[in-house]
Amino acid sequence: MTVQPETPVAEESRRAVQPLPARVWGGLRHFGRRSPLSAFWGCVALLIVAMAVAAPVIAPYPPLKSDFRSMQKAPYEEHLFGTDQIGRDTLSRVIHGSRTSLIVAFAAVLLGTTLGSFWGLACGFLGGRFDIVSQRIIEFLQSFPDLILAMAIAMALGSGTGTVIIAIAITRIPFGGRVIRSVVLSLKEMSFVEAARSLGASNMRIMLFHILPQCVAPYLILATTHLGVAIIIEASLGFLGVGIPPPAPTWGNMLADALNAGIVPPWWLVLFPGVAITITVLAFNLFGDGIRDVLDPRLRGAV
């Protein structure tokens, strides 16, 4: 009864003793090999995040400054993306727009997914009446198309960054609630949970050590796959006039302004903000897909 040394075991344990940076680097390389397309768009997403962080440095002009000598000018050397009807630089506004867009999307998804996940955790773990009632409420929330729910909440709360975040976050809650609940339910059936109970572990301990750690991957998957949707909802709210109030430079606001500029909106005011939205959403969607495939291929389509 000797234990044969198995090569993968040896390799894995060597990996485990490597210092953290090397492990992170190894993980990233693995990710890149596994889905090069996602890795590329992940880099694009990172660039967009960098652009948002460094917006004041990169943008050639302050986003709110009007230049009355060049109003509603098509792109030329001084204003590469042209200017709007009151002479604000479109390029600078697009760059600053990434800030609002990302802040809102990240905050909303983080807030909504986290709340939803904890709710789902509680539902799955407690079960019983709490679960039945919660599932009903979640179903009610899912009976609204998300844009309409966000619109109604944003309107009711009045405009502002905080309210937009809350409005979008609420539309994300049901997803966290459903997915994490089902993860917890399936984990509860696993015999390692029963094993822990037979050891005399308390519910709290089972929750913290056996169930919570396994919810991290689905949670991350949920959060990343919903970023794109959140960005589109934010832009739509801005476009419909219930987003962050003007003159804040958001992509949705810029498109709404373009439409209000006259019967025929100038093409550059329409083109650039939309391209920004599309590329950002594309980047986050594909990055999210890659994360999902690497973390848990079984969740394909489930989230």
């Binding site: 009610f140 009976s143 198309p145 309409i148 739509s236 419909l240 329409v270 389509g301």
Partner: protein, 320 residues
């Protein structure tokens, strides 16, 4: 089957009730009161306390919440959908006048999404992981990332600059069958834009479900009998593969109703979505309350209908 339908509708009733409570609560959490929305912040300051009080009572906003809620539900039951603060038209009239246009847009977009999505799915499924399949994948991923309302603005601009064409803004009250030319010109743009996103989902779903079905034994048998690949797919696989696509399409239809709000705004289409846009900007809470509720009810009904259609086609579902 009958009991399944009854059960499904009973659940739907509970959902609609829950939805009505959520809508009502959202519309009553407004900070500041609705009068600010009507008279503007300046107008508010000019109102005396007594005037404010009388307005609130007139609008029924002074009653306790539960009374307000019950009155609202009673109104709906009586078919009275309330009135806008700003317009003479009642919400009911508005829905009847503008609703058909939005409904036509939604239905046309579903049809277009099948016309666009299914052939792409068949091509992808017949030759999985080839250049054609990958191209289809990239296109559908892109379609999901493009905001529809922006695409709408681009189309309007493109047509205007390229062909000097602008779609008519109104059919003058004529319906689809009275003036099909004009109505089609109004609805085709929004429907196309809304169809793209759906087509992307449908193509993905139909592709994977086709691939699954193609691998099943009865398709292999058909192939063994001598039918060639293309025929096998169209004759045997397609109807079964389309089942999940029907479900998806029904769910997407609900999202199309929501998506049509910014898209109608982009095209300037005089549909219900545009009315929603106007109401939300004017903070017209009674219109919003009823329209949001209406949209949610339609959404719930769509889901029930899809469930029933699926149960009718596939009897296994009824017993789950």
């Amino acid at each position: 089957m009958y009991s399944y339908i009854v059960r499904r509708f009973a659940f739907g009733g509970i959902t609609v009730f829950g939805v009505s409570i959520i809508v009502f609560l959202i519309m009553r959490i407004m900070p500041g009161d609705p009068l600010t929305a009507i008279f503007g912040p300046e107008g508010m300051t000019k109102l005396t306390e007594a005037q404010r009080q009388s307005y609130m009572e007139e609008l029924g906003l002074a009653d306790p919440l539960i009374v307000q809620y019950l009155n609202w539900i009673l109104d709906i039951v009586r078919g009275e959908l309330g009135r806008s603060f700003f317009r003479a038209e009642s919400v009911g009239e508005m829905v009847l006048r503008r609703g058909p246009l939005t409904a036509q847009i939604a239905i046309l977009s579903v049809i277009l999404s099948w016309i666009l999505g299914i052939p792409v799915a068949i091509i992808s499924a017949l030759r999985p992981n080839t250049a054609a399949d990958n191209t289809a994948r990239v296109i559908s991923i892109t379609c999901l990332a493009v905001p529809g309302f922006w695409l709408g603005m681009l189309i309007v601009l493109g047509l205007l600059f390229g062909f000097g064409y602008r779609a008519p803004q109104t059919a003058g009250g004529a319906g689809l069958f009275e003036d099909p030319g004009t109505v089609l010109q109004i609805i085709i743009g929004p429907a196309f834009v809304l169809a793209l996103g759906q087509a992307a989902y449908i193509a993905r779903m139909a592709r994977s479900s086709l691939l699954e079905v193609i691998r099943e034994d009865y398709v292999r048998t058909a192939r063994a009998k001598g039918l060639n690949g293309r025929l096998v797919v169209s004759l045997h696989a397609l109807p079964n593969a389309l089942l999940p696509v029907i479900t998806l399409s029904g769910i997407l239809l609900g999202f199309v109703l929501a998506g049509s709000i910014p898209v109608e705004r982009a095209f300037g289409t005089p549909g219900l979505g545009y009315a929603m846009f106007t109401a939300v900007n004017e903070r017209d809470i009674f219109v919003m309350q009823n329209l949001v509720f209406l949209y949610a009810v339609v959404f719930v009904m769509l889901n029930i209908t899809v469930d029933i259609i699926i149960a009718w086609i596939d009897p296994r579902i009824r017993y789950q």
